[in-house]
């Protein structure tokens, strides 16, 4: 356990590190695109090839395919989700008023030559029909930084209330 902690410390990047900054900048850009419901542009932030976008129902789960998840999208499924969100025929999406989100508490680890793991918190306030909802989650992004353009390889959204009763949702976290 202690050895692992030391290893983690060695991998941790200072937030001022240009590589860390570029990853954080990407996550801020993502937050803006999601608030603006620019889902096609959001899709462009993702890496080519194998990716994963997951909103699990239990924190301890590691094999998402073996369990039920709120969202468990590989690349084709994520594109189908974007198709739905932009189709104009999804009542819940059309009814979304506005969301504003804050992403913060960043920690950046290097987990490969060209891959970073960024953990953060996300608070979304969603307004619709006189009603403000708060959504809170811890995020883990896996960011590929091989080219000059960083991109998302994986995103895991741990809702604080994932094991309890949640509202239905017409936007993305």
């Amino acid at each position: 356990m202690q050895a692992e902690a030391w290893a983690d410390a060695e991998r941790k990047l200072a937030l001022a590190d240009p590589v860390a900054l570029s990853a954080i900048e990407l996550i801020y850009r993502e937050a803006r695109l999601l608030d603006d419901q620019r889902y096609r542009d959001w899709d462009e932030l993702w890496a080519e090839g194998e990716t994963r976008y997951v909103v699990p129902m239990r924190r301890e789960v590691v094999d998402y395919d073996a369990t039920l998840n709120f969202i468990n999208d590989d690349s084709p499924m994520r594109r189908r989700r974007v198709d739905r969100m932009t189709s104009g025929h999804a009542g819940a999406v059309n009814a979304v008023g506005r969301t504003v989100r804050t992403v913060s508490r960043f920690a950046v680890d290097r987990i490969g030559d060209h891959e970073l793991r960024v953990t953060s918190t996300e608070i979304v306030v969603a307004y619709k029909q006189g009603d403000h909802q708060v959504w809170a989650a811890e995020l883990t992004h896996h960011i590929l930084s091989a080219d000059d353009r960083p991109c998302i390889r994986a995103k895991i959204v741990h809702l604080v209330d994932a094991e309890h009763t949640v509202r239905t949702c017409g936007f993305l976290l």
Partner: protein
């Protein structure tokens, strides 16, 4: 026929329901909601789970019947108990975890009164403050009456409720058909979505056999699935896609007629291409008939069964509803799988469930949106009736004496409101 709702209270609630319409007040009036808890949810059988959710002695889940929290658990004698989640001493909620497993039972967080899994009071700390001969047998947790059918666990607060089998009536035949989706394996619950929406519980109940809304509200899902799945659920003009009003408020809507009895297979149905990888994986190990049987069951049964008031068996999942307020309802959508069956088949069912169901699915959020819209819109004029007359012009009586019409018709809703009226107006 007009509905007179002015100044109605108590036993006049029956006048809010006619054969072809109901007053919007049944969605809106908090007094009616309170009466529904007493006269419906605390009087009839409510489904509180499936036996597979409690695999071991000590397995438990916390749920609710109406507004009353309960613990559903398996005891040391393998019996399923449904216990009011409330300490007998000073009333604290005993257990707040959604699920888990305990060795011996439940201990109150306040003064540590401890209860066995069957609700018996086991221990009181510092008992000197009570008479030496205190009768612990009178201080156990309140136990609901429990009966099961086909693995479904039902509970009621009413000791005088009729036996479950009679209450279910001919819904039993449909439950039996539903469970055939196990394809030779015992059916098990693989997980559940739990979500809340801002609408009266009856708006959701009505929706279970409402084929009319499906291609309209779920247009984005229909456009999103493969052509064979979309074709499977294209029932709008299929004369074999019918709905039956059963009895006691139960009803069934058939969406995929060829999947009503999954044991029947004339061999003409092509297995869907989307399951090609799974078929290739399983082919070496399974005889062709068993493989066909399994793959044809992946979408579940070809119908939705409404069991009044809180259970629906919907194609591949079990739905429990719980009315938490006049304008708020909690749903659980429990996805089914094959106990001891091929892992790949279970995973296919998880993905099918994720695709449509749940707070982030491609179907459920759109459903909840229109239900909430009904709740808000109906308030525009509480006395203006909600119409449930679709299909009355073509409804027939089946040989079994059940009203039958097309699955896009409102036969099921009419049956539910017949039962609602009976329960809301009977003295008991």
């Amino acid at each position: 026929m007009s509905i007179d709702v002015a100044g109605r209270t108590g036993s006049d609630w029956g006048s809010l329901v006619a054969a072809d319409r109901v007053s919007a007040r049944v969605y809106l009036d908090p007094e009616i909601y309170e009466a529904e808890l007493e006269r419906i949810f605390y009087k009839t059988w409510n489904c509180v789970g499936h036996e597979s959710e409690f695999p071991e002695r000590g397995s438990f889940k916390t749920r609710a019947v109406g507004r009353r929290p309960v613990i559903v658990c398996r005891d040391r004698n393998d019996q399923i108990n449904v216990l009011l989640n409330r300490c007998r001493h000073r009333g604290a909620l005993l257990c707040e975890k959604p699920d888990g497993a305990v060795a011996g039972g439940f201990t109150c967080p306040y003064h540590s009164w401890s209860y066995a899994l069957d609700g018996r009071l086991r221990g009181i700390p510092y008992p000197d403050g009570y008479p030496r001969d205190i009768d612990k047998s009178r201080l156990g947790l309140r136990r609901l009456r429990v009966e099961t059918y086909a693995g479904l666990i039902f509970a009621t607060f009413d000791e005088n409720a009729e036996p479950l089998a009679g209450f279910l009536g001919s819904a039993r035949r449909w439950i039996d058909l539903f469970m055939k989706q196990g394809a030779g394996y015992p059916v098990k619950v693989q997980g559940a979505f739990k979500f809340r929406y801002q609408a009266n519980w009856k708006i959701q109940l009505e929706n279970v056999t409402d084929g009319y809304h499906f291609p309209l509200v779920h247009r984005s899902w229909m456009a999103n699935v493969d052509a064979q799945t979309a074709e499977m659920l294209s029932f709008m003009k299929d004369p074999e896609a019918v709905t039956y009003g059963l009895e006691n408020g139960h009803s069934v809507g058939i969406f995929v007629p060829e999947h009503v009895d999954l044991n029947e297979d004339d061999g003409t149905e092509a297995l869907q291409d989307r399951f090609g990888d799974l078929v290739a994986d399983l082919q070496p190990g399974l005889p062709p008939e068993r493989l066909r049987r399994l793959v044809r069951s992946l979408h579940g049964a070809g119908f939705n069964l409404n069991v009044f008031p809180n259970l629906a068996l919907s194609m591949g999942f079990i739905r429990l509803l719980n009315p938490v307020a006049v304008d708020a309802t909690d749903n659980e959508h429990m996805v089914l799988g094959y106990e001891g069956g091929p892992e790949g088949a279970n995973r296919e069912r998880l993905r099918i469930h994720e695709h449509f169901q749940g707070p982030f699915g491609f179907g459920t959020p759109d459903d909840s949106e229109v239900w909430a819209r009904v709740q808000r819109g109906a308030a525009a004029d509480p006395d203006m009736p909600i119409l449930i007359d679709r299909g009355l012009n073509r409804e027939e009586m089946s040989d079994e004496g059940h009203p039958r019409s097309h699955v896009t018709d409102e036969t099921g809703m009419r049956e539910a409101y017949r039962m609602w009226k009976r329960l809301m107006t009977d003295a008991g």
